[in-house]
Each structure stands twice: as C-alpha cells, then as structure tokens.
Subunit: 395 residues, 2 copies
C-alpha cells in the first residue's frame, strides 16, 4: 500500500511535516534489505547464544525479499481480533543449521496444510523467538507468501524448547503444528499439551537430521498483545542499527553503554575464550565455555553453560545470571553478538546480562524456563539482584 | 446384507442344497466371536513369533463385536476398483502391547483424518499383517466404524518394519499415515518413501511409549489382488480352528501333520527352552532363544534370533530357516503358537518352518526382508532347500 503525497502535510499532533518525513514514516513499516541485516544482528543478541547464525538467516530472508519485494511490518494491534497469525521457524541444533538450512519450500507446504486444519487463511506471520535464524525465517515466509509480518514474538529472546513461549504458558496450544524437512517429508502434529508437542517434534527433528522447519503456534489477533512479547522486531532492528554503527561512536564503550541503555542490561564480564565444550545431542547443542578475564576482570574466570541458548553464567563459581534472563556474548571490539556455534578459542568477548520480559519472571515462567528446568540446582534470582549482590562482594 | 431363502436351492455347480447349508454359507462371511478367537490363534502362528499377543488382541476385537455386532468379511474382488481400503494396526514392541493397548478411540480419530486427506471415505479396512494383535485391530475398527473387513493383508505373516509390505515393494506409499496414542496425541505423516515412513513413525512410537496406533497403507480396490496377500484371514481362521480342535485328533502329531499340510510347512525341531535373551530397544523387541532338543533332536541345540518376529533359526549353528520364510514356535502338547513375549524357560516347543508368500521370494522381497537386511551375513535360501540339505546331512 503506497500513499502519494504532493506537499507538506499536518500530522496527528498538528505538526507540519515534509513529504520526506512522511515517506520515511511509511517506509519504516517495510522491511528492506538493510533492515534485515540489522534485525538479524539485533535478534542474535537477543538469541542469548542460540537462535541460530544471523548470516545464514539473512541470506534466506534477503534472497526472498530480493525476489518478492519488501515485507510489511505491522503492529499486533493491526491484526483483526479473529485473524490467524502463524509462526514459521526452524527447530533443532543451531550448529547443524549452518550446513543444513531450509530452501523455503518447506513453509509453502506447511502453511496451506495448517490453514486447511484451521479452515482459515493466515493473515500474517510472526517469529516465535528472537534469534539469528528464527527472526529471519518469518521474513522469508512473509516475502514468499505475500503476508505481513507482525512485530511480536513468543519469547522476547530465544529458548531451546517448543513449550517455552509466553503463548504456551498463557495456555495457547503449540499444535496443530506442521514439521517438514528439505527432502519433502512432513507431519501435521496434534498433541494434548505443549510438552508433548516438544517431545514429538524433537524426535522427528532428530530423525530428519537435527534440524527441521515448522509452522505452528497459530494465535488469533486478540491474543497477541495479551500473551506475546510486542515490539521485538523493532527492538532487534534498533539494537542491530546501533551495533552496525558502533564504529561511529567515539569509543566502543560509548556504543556499549547505549546498547545497555536500550536493553536495560549489564556488562557482567570481559575476557578471552580459553575452553569450549560443545556437543550435538538429541537435537540440541549442549556445551560450556570458559572465559579468562582481563582488564578489571583479570584473575577471574567466567563460565557459560548452554542448551542451544545460554542458561547459566558464573564468575569464579558465583552465579551472576540464569535463564530466563538473557546471557549473551558480544565481540569486545565490534559488539557483534557471538552465537554458540561461533565460539572460538582466543575470541575476546563481553558477557552481557539482559533482564527477561516480565512474562517470564512469574511462577509459571520460572518453572518453564528457570535454571531448575534445565537441571541446575539453583533458584532463579533476577539479574539485577545478582549483579547488586556481586558488586557489593568487592566492597 | 441378509438373504431370506424359503426352500432348497441349486448352487453354482448344480447341487441341491438345504437352506441351512446356504445360511451357513452366508454366515461364513461374517466374523463372530468364535471366529475372532480362531483368527487370533491362526494369525499368531503366521506372526512368526511377533505380531503381538492373541489374547490381548481378541479382548479388543470381541468387546467391539459384542457392542456393535459381527463384522462382514469380504473378498478383495468385492472391493470396487476405485474404493479406498485403509489399514489399522499397532506399531511398536509387542511385549509392551501386553500392558499398553489401544482403546479404539485412536482409530476413530485417525480414520476421518486420513479420509479427509484422500477426500474419500474408507470402503473397508484390512490388516497390514497377520499377527495376534494386528489381525484383531482391524476387526475392532470394522465393528466400531461399521466397515467390512477385506480378506487380504500386506505381508502374509508379520514383519517388524513399515516398509516391509507387499504393497510397499510394489511401489505403494505407506503414507499418508496417521499415528496416535491413547492420550490423544496424533500426527498425520507424509514421507517421500516407505523407509522414511518407518523412521518417522518409529521415532514417534518410541516417544509415545514404545507402542502406537496407526491408520495408513491405504490401497484402492484394483490393487488388492495384484499386490496384497489374499485369503489371509480365512487361512488364519482355518489354522486357528485346527489348533482349537487339536485335542479331537487321535494324537497331537496327527493334528500337526494336518497343520503342516495347510501351511505347506515343516517341523524343524522339538525341544525345551533353556535360555532367553530379550530386550526392548528403539521401539522393537530384540532377542535370542535357545532350545535344547529332545526326542529325535536329543543332543542338538536350536536357536532363534528375533527382531519382534523370528528372523533366523539354526540347529547346531546350521541355518535351517531365515526370513522371509516363517519361523514359528508352537507348544508341543497343544500346538498353540508361542509368541516371543511369552517365551518361558522350560517351555516345550516345536519349531515350525513355513514358506513365505511368493511375493517375498523375489529380488526386491529378499532385499527388503531377507537375512542381510536384518544384519546377518547369510544369503537367503528357500526353506525347502535348507530342509532338504539338512535332511541329507545325516545320511
């Protein structure tokens, strides 16, 4: 939808605006190729070590947008109450997705199957999580299928399992969900609850070769604001633009300060990666990374444990952050997020801690994605409290 | 469909028949509760050690027939060319099905889902294999859904994997297939070939607790005779009736001789079970049973290796029978088939060898279900030749 405006005009607040400003405003709702790159970088920061590699993700989204034209970004409130939005994503081990990624046909098969099940066409698509790949897949699908993209997700970050969404903890079913692979195998899965959806989709994913493409988590417009994490794509873009312009700042620290302002986050640690333990098992990447501190963190050791996404961050065995709060590594010089499949010995990183969306800081949220769920004998304590406690230890 | 006949009549060959004979003939096409018991016993002989426990199977079929009335048995040639017949069965480890069996609702969900996919109602149902459970499930489904049962299957025996059907080797797809569990989870699976169907259905089955209920292997009427094993339910019933009346024979050996005439089989061995090795893994029962010979087999040891079904039978390390030929154990006193979950130390058994249907004795058949497929470094040699060679060894 394009508006042609021939002169200065008055906006909602009565301000005189130029045509250029208005056009800029209009284009803001479209996702072009630069936006894709920024969203991918920002989303991979919110991916908390997981969520997949942003370069692979951007390749898929860019090629779809090049072929089909830019994607319209809409607000959750723009979706009619009874309209259906369907999420498109990849499931599996992010490290495998570096070599085995969807060609897009998977979703062209999956969407109609799901639409048929609901007896309703998709009004739009949306990302189930923020991550280098799963923020990009819905852009690809939106471009290929001529659907708008809703500025919402079901996590406000990335998490490894299907039941770990703000929609699921609010009682939305994950199923019906269609799982497909690049060969042409597919299954329309219906389960009694989200945990069963995770079990069955995961086991099929393992057989399909540790990654799969899914369409599911269908939500009606009226539930998007109440049960989703709104504004996640805009936030990803804002973060990505900032990181992309980090070299324009006087110092990289100045850029980092602004990044932490945007995300309400903390710099928890700075150091050099000295050990990486990484395995792909049961359709997940599991691992631990050790970071030797430098600068003000000299003589200290940090460690991050992950299941696709980072779950626990400790300094000298002191817990400094746990899921659902975000633990994310960025390159010290460029602030580019370092996802777990890119961990390399000698890489110099800042460890950032970002508070989770408030929907996760609830009893059901912590039961679903807190440290105990992931097998750690640790109670969840909000990041801000852990940081405050830790900062007082030195006093 | 009932015919009322008021006097003696002339049959196809010109013989005068009484009303009673005619009515008997008509009732023959119906499966009543006695028939169910006989079919289950006969099918469990054809189950070759697998196929599930006949008592569990009969319970399900009998309760459905008691509630809904007897099931009509029809010939494959009675099915119109374009009519769709859908098979109903259980997948998984037979030993687990002793404790965890379907309640019937699974198929009431699965059939409509599959019918919708085909855009065609099922004209009838049929068993995919002959076995204590999988010959019974379609009777239960036929009774519950008011469908006739076709006197055909896709194996002429039982086999452990989904691609092991005469339909699949003739190029029929196994999918679409609907897999369900007793909780209410289900998946409509479409795969590029029968091997992928096996992989995906098996892995879901393992997650569902080592057994699942499936509806699939849909075949049109015109292909039933060309690519199925016809008359399998009648043959099961005939075998079952014979075993049930074994005590009416002068000696059990006389009954056994007639059994071997019906099945064109051989008695390969007689002995006492002295060792059983049995594990449930990856949704299958695997194992080996050792039998110490007695009578004419004194001083000899027999061994049966199985993956759900018996695959190899050796006497003193001499191969006497391999899949696809049937290796089946029967109680020496009653001729009741002994399925692998009922193997007990001290049980006295005859080992019978029955030739496989000719559709299996082909290049593709042997590649699909011959000893090499199951991991044995043995070429398939037809049972008759092995028996002849062995019988000459003593001369």
């Amino acid at each position: 939808m394009y508006f042609f405006i021939n002169g200065p005009y008055t906006d909602y607040y009565g301000y005189q605006k130029s045509i250029n400003t208005k056009l800029e405003g209009l284009f803001m709702t479209q996702i072009n190729i630069d936006d894709i790159k920024h969203i991918a970088i920002g989303a991979s920061l919110l991916g908390a070590g997981g969520g997949g590699n942003p370069y692979v993700g951007t390749l898929m989204a860019i090629s779809a947008v090049r072929e089909k034209g830019p994607v319209q970004l809409i607000e959750p409130t723009d979706v009619p109450e009874d309209a259906l939005v369907i999420s498109a994503s990849m499931v599996g081990a992010p490290a495998v997705s570096l070599e085995k990624f969807p060609n897009g046909n998977e979703y062209d098969k999956a969407f109609p199957l799901l639409e048929e099940t609901y007896g309703q066409k998709a009004y739009a698509t949306y990302p189930i999580e923020a991550g280098g790949i799963n923020s990009m897949i819905p852009i690809m699908v939106a471009a290929r299928r001529g659907l708008p993209l809703v500025d919402v997700d079901g996590m406000g970050r990335a998490f490894p399992e299907l039941q770990m969404t703000t929609f699921a903890i609010a009682g939305h079913p994950v199923t019906p969900i269609v799982i497909t692979d690049e060969r042409g195998n597919n299954a329309l899965v219906n389960t009694i609850d989200a945990n069963w959806a995770e079990k069955i989709i995961r086991t099929i994913t393992v057989k399909m070769g540790a990654t799969s493409s899914v369409a599911g988590d269908a939500v009606h417009g009226k539930d998007l604001v109440a049960n989703g994490v709104t504004g996640i794509i805009s936030l990803s873009k804002q973060i990505g633009e900032l990181i992309d312009s980090a070299s324009d700042f006087e110092t990289v620290d100045a850029a980092l300060t602004q990044l932490l302002q945007i995300t309400k986050g903390y710099k928890l640690f700075t150091g050099k990666i000295t050990d990486i333990n990484h395995t792909t098992k049961d359709g997940f990447n599991f691992g631990e990374v050790t970071i030797e501190g430098f600068g003000t963190f000299e003589q200290s050791f940090g460690s991050v444990s992950f299941q696709n996404e980072n779950i626990i961050f400790k300094v000298n065995d002191q817990v400094l952050a746990t899921a659902p709060d975000l633990i994310t590594l960025v390159d010290v010089d460029t602030l580019i997020p370092v996802t777990n499949e890119e961990l390399r010995y000698g890489k110099r990183v800042n460890v950032l801690g970002l508070p989770a969306n408030s929907k996760w800081r609830t009893e059901v949220g912590i039961a679903t994605v807190g440290p105990r769920y992931f097998g750690y004998d640790i109670d969840y304590v909000p990041l801000e409290q852990l940081v405050e406690k830790y900062s007082k230890m030195g006093e």
